[in-house]
């Protein structure tokens, strides 16, 4: 019997599903709250009950990332690995890595001051989509269609002054149907995919009420998902694609601690079960 440790900061349906599948497969599952776990530079793996492998499932990106760093310091196998989590959590790093690996992705413009972002926008022309480099659920993602909107957005950025507010990530607005595709890959294998349909606006996040609908994994989607997963470093990922009217499939995001309860409602394969099986095989290798 093997043991999987699920590290969380907010216990969601997904973590409970993972726990259930581990137990149903005849393994042990231990749930560990990152918020109350203390680690120091003398910490050893045997001081904790990390089982054979850890699935890092924190909702907070930075908490999960730093927790992963300490797990790897103690030589605890963890999914996803620090390098994968680090890249996927930052949209700029992720976009650069996608492009570097020749994976079609929307053209993206980077600026490092508000003035430069404004200049860039005027030069490239409207519309562009501005996204915070860190953060998700579609928050802070806004289409900029004219100068007035640009001025307002840049002014807000100047006021908020968060650590990443001076990084301006502006992306081409892809002409596409009002939906995108989320593919879950486990060990570079696409397990399930769904269309996320917009519920009116231009965003398609399930967290914002988009309806999940099963999507057939075509050869094209499969190839793209496998390439994107490999480019990021593998593990358990959520690959988001858009069907561009002119450009065909483009990958716009790769998610690290992937949420799957929407897709699990419609998927043919048992997603949490596949994750547990992969995690245990990963550590046996």
């Amino acid at each position: 019997m093997s043991k999987v440790c699920i590290v969380f900061d907010r216990l969601r349906t997904e973590e409970k599903m993972l726990q259930k599948e581990a137990l149903d497969l005849g393994h042990d599952a231990v749930m560990l709250d990152a918020k109350i776990t203390q680690i120091n530079t003398d910490s050893k793996r045997e001081d904790y009950d990390f089982g054979d492998i850890v699935l890092e499932r924190c909702v907070s990106y930075f908490r999960g990332l730093h927790f992963t760093a300490s797990l790897e310091f103690m030589d605890v196998p963890v999914l996803n690995k620090f390098d994968v989590a680090n890249v996927c959590g930052n949209k700029m790093f992720m976009t650069l890595l996608l492009k570097k690996n020749n994976i079609p992705t929307p053209k993206t413009y980077f600026s490092f001051s508000g003035e430069s972002a404004a200049e860039n926008l005027e030069k490239v022309g409207y519309p562009l989509v501005i996204k915070p480099v860190i953060g998700s659920w579609g928050r802070g993602v806004m289409p900029i269609k004219d100068k007035d909107t640009m001025d307002a957005v840049l002014e807000i950025r100047n006021i908020t002054d968060g650590p990443h507010d001076r990084i301006y990530y502006l992306q081409e607005l892809i002409k596409r149907p009002p939906r995108d595709i989320r593919v879950i890959t486990i060990g570079d294998e696409p397990i399930a995919a769904m269309y996320r349909k917009s519920s009116g606006g231009f965003k398609t996040n399930i967290a914002l009420g988009a309806d999940p609908e099963l999507c057939e994994i075509t050869k094209e989607i499969e190839d793209m998902a496998v390439k994107a997963s490999k480019a990021m470093g593998g593990g358990i990922l959520g690959i988001d694609m858009m069907e561009g009217d002119e450009r065909g499939l483009v990958v716009h995001e790769v998610n690290n601690t992937v949420e799957f309860k929407g897709l699990a409602r419609v998927a043919e394969r048992n997603i949490p079960k596949e994750m547990i099986k992969f995690a245990l095989n990963y550590v046996r290798k």
């Binding site: 216990l11 953060g135 992937v258």
Partner: protein, 55 residues
């Protein structure tokens, strides 16, 4: 048990686990289950959702 914020009755499912979030149906406040021993449940204020949260 009652909501620490507005005293409304909180419905905590029997199979709820430590770390789960319970929302008050009346005032909407979120609480995290800090401890659970049978029907004895201890709640704490849930963390606010931060900019680095979610997918």
């Amino acid at each position: 048990m009652n909501c620490p914020e507005c005293d409304a009755i909180l419905n905590i499912p029997d199979d709820a686990s430590v770390g789960e979030i319970i929302s008050c149906p009346d005032c909407g406040a979120d609480f995290e289950i800090a401890k659970k021993d049978g029907s004895n449940v201890e709640l704490k204020q849930a963390e606010t959702v931060g900019e680095d949260w979610g997918e």
